[in-house]
Amino acid sequence: MKFTIQVNEGPYTHQASDSAYKFCEAALAKGHEIFRVFFYHDGVNNATRLTTPPQDDRNIVNRWSDLAAKHNLDLVVCVAAAQRRGIADEDEAKRNGKDANNIAPGFRISGLGQLIEGGIQSDRLVVFGD
């Protein structure tokens, strides 16, 4: 089955990102396809490489990056939600006159159309959030 995953909550505060990650891992292990993971609302905070959790805790951001690298996942961060919350890649930082970017490897910033397309192209769209 082909899935699109929507992550609506930030890391650590809320379990949604952990649950979404575990779901992706399990689905891939069973041979399913993850068409896209779309990060929305505070979920965009899963995409900052500046995240520095204590060493004995899981690194939620790196975990997504690693999974993306291993399975060639499409991790998409909503541009409008990202701008509000200070998540930027090189282009976004330049466009908005910022002095730095913070996007983690494997993530890309794009529009909400990517979420709708995920719903159209996938057999199931699964939402993780509050």
Partner: protein, 128 residues
């Protein structure tokens, strides 16, 4: 739905379920942003308002004192985007002392059973 059907331009049924009050959290505003962008994809769109989500449609919203934008006029513009199917949970309205007259757009008020049936028919359900 098969890939063949998609290539043939088949339309999916998209349902946006709005459960939260318009202010206090950003879910309602960002849900509306998805609906507006999604309208360009010409899918079969329904909006459902349950729980505190019914407050999103109330008339006379005044956000001056909380320093946030009153985005409720946007619901009246949905018609121009061909988003015309708005469903509201009757019990949620009644529990909050509201009726259809308190809402700023035309909606269809439904029982929970009817809303459950509506959700059952959908291809994609996005919850906010």
């Amino acid at each position: 739905m098969s890939d063949e059907m998609m290539e043939g331009g088949a339309v999916k049924k998209f349902c946006y379920v709005n459960r939260k009050a318009p202010y206090g959290t950003i879910y309602a505003l960002e849900s509306l942003e998805v609906v507006l962008i999604g309208a360009a994809f010409e899918q079969d769109v329904s909006l459902v308002f349950i729980d505190d989500g019914v407050y999103q449609l109330t008339k006379g919203q005044d956000t001056a004192d909380i320093g946030m934008k009153n985005f409720s006029p946007t619901y009246r513009a949905l018609e121009m985007y061909d988003v015309e199917k708005l469903y509201v949970d009757k019990e949620a309205l009644e529990a909050r002392g509201l009726s259809e007259e308190d809402l700023l757009v035309d909606v269809q008020v439904m029982s929970r059973e009817e809303i459950a049936g509506l959700m059952e028919e959908q291809d994609v359900v996005l919850t906010f």
